[in-house]
Symmetry: C2
Subunit: 606 residues, 2 copies
Amino acid sequence: MATRIPTRPAGARRTGQDRDDSHKLTAVGGLAALSLDALSSVAYGPEAVVIALTAAGAAAVRLTLPISIAIALLLIVLVVSYRQVIAVHPDGGGAYAVAKTSLGQRTSLLAAASLVVDYVLTVAVSLAAGAASLASVFPSLADHLLAVALVGLLVLTLLNLVGIAESARALMLPTAVFVVAILATIVVGLVRHDPVAVVGHDLGPIEPTEALGIVLVLKAFAAGCSALTGVEAIANGVPAFRAPAVKRAQRTELALGVLLGVMLVGLAVAIKIHHIVPRGDVTVLAQLSAGAFGTGWPFYVTNLAVTLVLAFAANTSFGGLPVLMSLLARDNRLPHLFGLRAERPVFRYGVSALALLSAVLLLVVGADTNQLLPLFAIGVFIGFTISQVGLVRHWRQTRSAGWRGRAALNATGAVLTALAAVVFMASKFTEGAWALLVIIPVLIAGFDRVENYYADVGRQLGLGELPPRPASPGRQPAVVVVPVLDVSRRTALALSTAQRLGSSVHAVAVGIDPSATKSLCGQWRTWDPGIELTVLPSPHRTLVAPIVGYVQTLIGDGHDVTVLLSEVEPRHRRHELLHNQRGMVLAAALRSRTDAVVATVPFRLE
Amino acid sequence: MATRIPTRPAGARRTGQDRDDSHKLTAVGGLAALSLDALSSVAYGPEAVVIALTAAGAAAVRLTLPISIAIALLLIVLVVSYRQVIAVHPDGGGAYAVAKTSLGQRTSLLAAASLVVDYVLTVAVSLAAGAASLASVFPSLADHLLAVALVGLLVLTLLNLVGIAESARALMLPTAVFVVAILATIVVGLVRHDPVAVVGHDLGPIEPTEALGIVLVLKAFAAGCSALTGVEAIANGVPAFRAPAVKRAQRTELALGVLLGVMLVGLAVAIKIHHIVPRGDVTVLAQLSAGAFGTGWPFYVTNLAVTLVLAFAANTSFGGLPVLMSLLARDNRLPHLFGLRAERPVFRYGVSALALLSAVLLLVVGADTNQLLPLFAIGVFIGFTISQVGLVRHWRQTRSAGWRGRAALNATGAVLTALAAVVFMASKFTEGAWALLVIIPVLIAGFDRVENYYADVGRQLGLGELPPRPASPGRQPAVVVVPVLDVSRRTALALSTAQRLGSSVHAVAVGIDPSATKSLCGQWRTWDPGIELTVLPSPHRTLVAPIVGYVQTLIGDGHDVTVLLSEVEPRHRRHELLHNQRGMVLAAALRSRTDAVVATVPFRLE
């Protein structure tokens, strides 16, 4: 038999497909939708370096610049390597896709688990950090950080339920303001040299508690690497871009790298020139912007943009997690449901689930960034390391022109990111990083169980082998059973539909209430639709059991049985609770207890 | 056309119907399952009288006995009248059924709303009171009342998910112990005359704050009437009894009345003889049992039985509310879903919903009985009044032998219960009773809206008029569309089923992933099932839109279309999340956007 592949969609009417393209991302939109996580991390990365270094006294802060330059070099390695990831894995999935192709089963599951953890943590961390940043501008909010973070989550969730492109559009303006404000802070700060205003409380002379050695420098480097979280999100979300998706995604990754690198090094220079040290109640970034602009409106604009962008950085997850989950579902490692990412109801479940998990996380830790940040960074750097190692393996296998140079670059990146992950894990183990040693193995075991289950189902379905040719119908006539509740247009529709589905139609009513049954029988006789009505007794007033029993008897007699239910389709979704539950309960019972075909015909209300 | 009514169930195989009788109640089981609310109220009714009277000083407590006798007389009126309600309304529903028959639409909705409120409040009040009573035996629990109440709710919910008869069985022993312990407390207390032990802190001399006048006596009477809550539950739940249900329910009501009356008057006599006044930390009942038995094991057994029975009194609601809701659903005042009370999944939703509402209520008021008791009693007494007024109307209409005497009895009862309701409402208005003036009208408006909606749907369905005779099939051949995901036994089953449902079978696959599509087409050619496979292009990688478009085109061409999906039926319910979501999403889209029949055939896993 030939296989027919139409060149045009068989459906002549448009079914909303054309709209889908507008839901996808341009390069600029991608920067807003998928890179806010990375861009916004300049608000806490340099600060983390400064705080780590002050353990060796205020003078040690001068090391911020060389450390930031090292981080920027690592950023270059990461950006180059993720542009390669995008080209090699245009279906997205980032570290997961790389590991699956080049590093095998186990490693890919580790990558997937750490990515899932990070997406959820991104939402919580970013919203918590955004709330904290807002409170440093409006001190009266300091007591309501959790509420602020939850309100932000609600806004984000609503934006994403509308669709990712719309949300990207909503995020473009704050992103632009943020980038301009940070660059202005750097430039104006460097030009003015002496701070215009100093904000926050002086914490007094900073006493060194640790010697300035290699361990401390490593700690500061690892802490600063939290500024690099998020550079993988674009590679994970390639299919969210408009065609040509690979080109657009690579361009977005490059733009992100340039912006982030310039901001990181620029802020480090400004920190050095202005002799910034930690001060109570305000962030390093707030000190820098006050130093550049004073405490007038540019100070407020800058810090509000930081807040907004920090909060909206959470959006990265809403873009990336559904893509990752659909890849896992296609590999039989998550319920197949998640493979239907493009369908609106499924997409909405995903958005709601992510929002719920993040809300729980925020409630548990009380919107405290410090508890979440180490877990977050460790997961990200596991992903970085896996990606780089995978690419090294990829280059060695393909041996295309110039592979040695690329492999050396990725190997360097792998060593650096692995180092950062290990330093993070060791220094934050008792502060929550231990939880990753529980969560990640549990996730991996879950992926494993799902995969084994689907493999077993696949054997039973006979996947990979040719099934017997479709069986011919049984010798007994095919029967269509129509449960009847009333004499109405809906029943008339069901009966006429039943007549074309089978050779024999059985209308059955269940005698729950004697007087109602008597009246139904009377109406039926008057109507006389040409089909006999059988009343099934129901001594215990249940609707389901008599019909299931009747169908089982027919099947036992060798009939092919279809049960046809008419479903009322209300015009408004809110009325759905008022309809069809009898049908649903009946259909569920028939499916679990009989082999009958269960069919529904819609009766549409106006 | 003749209507065939088989004398035996048409289903030859047993379908679990026979089991249903064991789920119903005997008279003794009914006392445990539906009367704990009433019986347990002796633990707070007399106490409420004593506390109300001490406003006029310690000496006023002597009035407890005459007030209790008046309450017992009201109890006799209520028991007689509810035995009549049971006979006149064997379908249950209590005040709602009476009002619907004799008092019209508006009054029946008021009755229904107050009954719904009371069922939910019963659960919360009883569990809170039980927790408080337990804490008066084990003072260390006093700080964890809410947790104790929630644990009790969890246990009850689990018992009820198993089934009402099982839960009645579990409740019989504590009920028996409770009745014996209260009667023993009374008898031993009267014999010993002088208290064996005194528990609780002396609160010092009780200063009168109010004159001992008619208002105070009325307040004390109303407060004591809280001992009568629950006597209506049996009449509401008649269908839960085994046949002959009316006889059994009447016998249960009588037994309840006798037990409750004896306990109330007996406790009042003991209170008088032992000169009981409120003492800190312990209940009146705890004082009486310590006075009778000392503080050894009989004291603990008595108070633990009180606690257990108070907590399990909540069970009354799990028995009664589903019956009431099914009656409302049959009258089109609640979604029809609730009419399927006898079906296990529906019953389970009801139990879970009631548990959830009660848990929320407990969390909101922090397990504080005093906040809930007035709302509770007002609702109950509105129901009492409606029942009595309805019966007066009923006797006047039927004018059967001796109707004047019955009507006079019910009229007296109506005046007394209305009085109690008004006194409650006036004295507790600012303490929470105002909430009823919000909740009850909202519920009534809700019932109204549902009823109007169903009336509109009924018009569209043509209920009450004869619909046109079933239409004959269209002129174009009937088409069965089978969406294909893979070449497997499941697909083979779907194709063979499709061949008997329509004259023409269209197998369609959606081309989401080019390589997967190519491989599917190759397998299809090798398999060669005798049916052509059409591949629908999907530029936006969605599964649903191409199939919906294809079906719309076929329908536009005048075909009758059935879409047949094969559903995997897993052996364990926990695996359901892993299956059929693609089918569900597709079926939902087809139902809302096309007029196709949607059919499913089960593929059963081992």
